[in-house]
């Protein structure tokens, strides 16, 4: 739109390099989506094949492979067979549950604080807000070592609370919700209070519904951050039951260094890990764009 009006000189010819750039941006996705369904001999073939010649689901689940068989056997395990005990399905469930709880929990907790700060200020609430604002300057590297020690001292290593609780109180979400709640008229809140609604009720029935766009805007970065979180689970989890997808991918990629034929299950795993985010993005593209750019345009 704007670019168009300003730059009629950018003809299709000038756009051509950008189309090429778009193609190269998409290549990793194409490569992942096709290689996940190629046979292992085809994946390691030289030169690489540009499309799937022999379609197979063996990279996901290979019915002919024997778990525990020697590495040099002809049959390779699918990604659902590699992690024998609790398995890839368990990691998937862990990632989904942890991401969901973190998104919902952090949104609810932060919006409660923001509501109280704006509509029910108390002596010291200004100082509290300043503290929250200041804490946004602190990078996560500063807190990660003490937090690991805290989790260890609480005996939380290999537990869901270690994966979820430390990341639940998000100051930037409070800041964002505060901006949104400032726009809600006091009369609305006071009317509900006169009607006898308690604080919890007002927050749930009056404030939260009005916050919907802000909730969506914060949910997206929180969800992406949690789904891709690698370092924290790596530190606090070392058993199979609490593994998340990024950790499983890390292990697969590590195996790859030793045996390139591990690429089949790895591509399948990458495909399965990316699929939910691609689907969510395609379904909620508008919300993604608005959510991610709303923080920037205000500044």
């Amino acid at each position: 739109m704007v670019g168009e009006r300003q730059h009629p000189l950018l003809s299709t010819l000038l756009r051509l390099p950008f189309y090429l750039l778009a193609v190269s941006v998409m290549i990793p996705y194409y490569w992942m989506a096709t290689n996940a369904f190629k046979t292992i001999p085809e994946i390691v073939r030289n030169p690489p094949t540009w499309w799937v010649h022999t379609f197979t689901l063996d990279n996901f689940f290979n019915p002919d492979a024997v778990p525990g068989a020697p590495k040099n056997s002809a049959e390779f395990l699918g990604v659902f067979q590699i992690f024998a005990n609790s398995g890839f399905g368990q990691f998937y469930l862990n990632s989904v549950v942890i991401t969901l709880i973190t998104v919902v929990g952090s949104l609810l907790l932060a919006s409660l604080v923001a509501y109280v700060l704006v509509k029910r200020p108390f002596p010291g609430s200004g100082a509290l807000f300043a503290l929250l604002l200041g804490s946004m300057m602190i990078p996560w590297e500063v807190t990660i070592i003490p937090n690991f020690l805290t989790v260890r001292d609480l005996g939380w290593i290999n537990s869901y609370q270690a994966l979820i609780l430390p990341g639940l109180a998000k100051a930037f979400a409070v800041f964002f919700f505060r901006q949104a709640i400032l726009g809600i008229p006091d009369d609305l809140v006071d009317a509900a209070r006169i009607d006898g609604a308690g604080e919890l009720r007002i927050w749930w029935s009056v404030v939260l519904p009005l916050l919907r766009p802000a909730l969506a805007a914060i949910a997206i970065p929180v969800m992406l951050g949690e789904w891709n979180n690698y370092l924290w689970p790596l530190l606090v989890v070392n058993d199979d039951a609490h593994q998340t997808l990024p950790l499983a991918l890390g292990k697969l990629a590590g195996n790859l260094t030793y045996d390139p034929r591990g690429a089949g299950p790895m591509m399948a795993a990458s495909f399965l890990v990316s699929l939910p985010m691609v689907t969510v993005f395609l379904l909620f593209q508008r919300q993604f764009v608005q959510g991610l750019s709303s923080g920037a345009t205000k500044g």
Binding site: Q6, F18, I27, L109, T143, I145, E199
Partner: protein, 319 residues
């Protein structure tokens, strides 16, 4: 007339019976329900944000192996780091990565926003293509990149080089390629995100300014340099600084491409970043004090970046 108004409504607050209540009790009666709502957040915030900041600062002045009691060493950790060649190498790598990634992703983001900022279906599809890595990049795709850059003959990049009659390159095994490859990955993941921010910024520029300029005979080039760019400066600054801050803290791609079970940083530490080194010090060598000092050095550098941003922003306001 005022005599008819009941005494309780005459605005004489000190006459209300509540005055005599104990201040603490009165405070609680007034604020307890609201304060209760903030309690879950505040407990977690205190435990996992405030307390660790203080503890990390303390630990950075100690020698601590995560098991025995920390022993104070003064500024020893900081001095040791500043003369540690690995730290210097990590800092140079991170700085090069930060400069390359932030400049390229900002410039490309702006170009893409100018080219594909329109409302046509084709523009929207192109924007979705460029934006996808910001949403579904990261963990899922990094191992695909590892495969694409593979030095074996099935590595796609090397196949393309063969077509151009170039010799295959061991991308992940040659120190000179480490930072450029990481920058390529960083730009791949970030430029679409920056593009979206620039599209929003471009749309907030009022159209009639362009119309007025066009009437005055300004050509498109002049309109870009004299109108678009100056008015886009806040967005430009925001994008550049957030890109820099993000790149400075990069862990994942460095770790995933250049670390294995026995070693981090790759060959000659060519793929060592500050945060990877922090992980190596703190969690592999259990030098928690040293790692905490590194975290605080990193924090100070990020703080300087933010101050620079504020300062540039102020210059921008004066203009």
């Amino acid at each position: 007339m005022t005599n008819h108004v009941p005494a309780s409504l005459q605005g004489a607050a000190p006459t209300t019976p509540y005055r005599r209540a104990h201040p603490v009790r009165r405070f609680l009666a007034q604020h307890a329900p609201a304060l209760g709502l903030t309690l879950p957040f505040l407990i977690l915030f205190a435990l996992f944000t405030i307390w660790p900041v203080l503890r990390s600062l303390y630990l950075s002045f100690t020698d601590y192996d995560a098991i025995s009691t920390p022993t104070l060493v003064g500024t020893g950790n900081y001095r040791a780091l500043l003369s540690d060649p690995r730290f210097v190498k990590a800092l140079t790598n991170t700085a090069a990565y930060m400069v390359g990634t932030s400049l390229l992703s900002t410039a490309l983001g702006l170009l893409l926003a100018l080219v594909f900022g329109g409302q046509r279906l084709s523009d929207q599809i192109m924007r979705a293509c460029f934006f996808l890595p910001s949403v579904a990049g990261g963990v899922g795709l990094i191992s695909v990149f590892k495969w694409l850059f593979s030095s074996e003959d099935f590595g796609l990049i090397n196949t393309l080089r063969q077509w151009l009659s170039l010799d295959p390159v061991r991308f992940l095994g040659a120190p000179a390629y480490a930072v450029p490859i990481l920058i390529a990955l960083g730009v791949w993941g970030l430029m679409g995100y920056n593009m979206i921010l620039f599209v929003a910024g471009l749309r907030s520029i009022p159209g009639d300014i362009y119309e007025a300029a066009a009437i005055d005979g300004a050509n498109p080039r002049q309109r870009f340099w004299k109108i678009t760019l100056p008015l886009l400066r806040p967005t430009l600054l925001f994008v550049l600084v957030t890109s820099m801050i993000g790149a400075f803290q990069e862990f994942f791609s460095f770790y995933f491409l250049f670390s294995d079970t026995s070693n981090v940083g790759g060959i000659l530490d060519s793929g060592l970043s500050l945060v990877v080194y922090l992980y190596d010090l703190g969690f592999r060598h259990l030098q928690m004090g040293m790692a905490s000092a590194l975290a605080w050095i990193l924090f100070l550098m990020l703080f300087a970046l933010t101050l620079l941003n504020l300062k540039l922003g102020r210059i921008n306001d004066i203009d």
